[in-house]
Amino acid sequence: MIWLAILGCALGCYLLKLAGMSVPEGVLAHPVLRRTADLLPVVLLAALVAVQVFVVGGTDGPALGIDARLAGLGAAFVALLLRAPFIVVVIVAALTAALLRL
């Protein structure tokens, strides 16, 4: 199941790259299409942040909750404000949550 998802994602992502390299630039010129494609990564990444931090797995399925991950996200936010590189941001988030759980 996971392998199928990996291979499907790989094939699809490659074809998306190849399509961009192969079609004439005018094909995707429609402004609504371009704006939507431009906004998609922003919206999806924000949704991924929210789901990663606030969703807890319960016996009745996923639910919303708050734990040490929110403190980790806050620490990552401060690190980004201080212009820390990506790897530092990730480590700061992990360390903050780990320290709170000691």
């Binding site: 499907g8 994602c9 998306l16 704006r35 990564p41 991924l48 929210a50 040490a68 990730v90 992990a94």
Partner: protein
């Protein structure tokens, strides 16, 4: 090779090294999300676009259907199509070369190509960045996956919190306009509202509707690659 080309190649390799460090976090997060070392390495080799890979393992880590994870990855991969439209005329490759180059089409290689003034420099920027990121990203994924595998319970090390931090780090350089900030807040809110009612993985996909809604109603904004890892 002239001095300007050598300088472009050096910059490309520097970007590759910086991105390699970020590959370690992907490898570690991937195995702690429940994928094995082989699956983590296959993602970096075959998918080779960071945000899509993180999205897939994020959904798997939340016990979601991997199929929804793959779909999230594909939606995030659409931005590479827009990059390709701009990169293709600059590098001017055709046939098998273009098919091979397409695999290296990512945020970093695009950013290091679009600013060049000549075809030779564009090719140098694209290849040096794309190849060095590819090499180091895959080596780093393997190292991170092996390290993550030997750690035990990921919660002890806060690795579950690292995923949220990683996504915020990817999002950060894109929060440069008011429209993008509004889109981010709406997308996050819609996903959270849906969490109790739909299977894991679906809230993130559904948030994509926000992009369509704002795309239909907002004014034009040019698409440039973000300078992120």
């Amino acid at each position: 090779m002239d001095a300007a080309t050598r300088s472009i190649v050096r910059d490309g390799i520097a970007v590759g090294i910086a991105t390699g460090a970020y590959g370690i976090s992907f490898g570690a997060v991937s195995v702690t999300s429940g994928l094995d070392v082989w699956q983590s390495c296959a993602l970096s080799l075959l998918v080779f676009t960071g945000a899509s890979q993180f999205a897939l393992v994020g959904v798997v880590g939340a016990s979601g259907n991997p199929f929804f994870g793959a779909l999230s990855g594909l939606l995030l991969g659409t931005r590479n199509t827009l990059y390709g439209l701009k990169v293709a005329p600059m590098v001017g490759w055709h046939g098998a070369r273009r098919a091979a180059a397409a695999h290296l089409l990512i945020d970093e290689s695009t950013a290091m190509t679009l600013t060049r003034k000549s075809r030779e420099h564009a090719r140098a920027g694209f290849l040096s960045t794309g190849l060095s990121v590819f090499l180091l990203w895959n080596l780093a994924t393997l190292a991170g996956a092996l390290a993550g595998d030997s750690l035990g319970d990921p919660r002890t090390y806060g690795l579950d919190a690292a995923v949220g931090g990683a996504f915020l780090g990817l999002l950060w350089p894109r929060l440069d306009t008011l429209l993008n900030r509004v889109a981010a807040v709406l997308g996050a809110a819609l996903a959270l509202i849906l969490v109790p009612f739909v299977p894991a993985g679906v809230p993130v996909l559904a948030a994509g509707v926000v992009a369509l809604g704002l795309g239909l109603t907002s004014r034009h904004r040019d698409d440039e690659p973000a300078q992120d890892p």
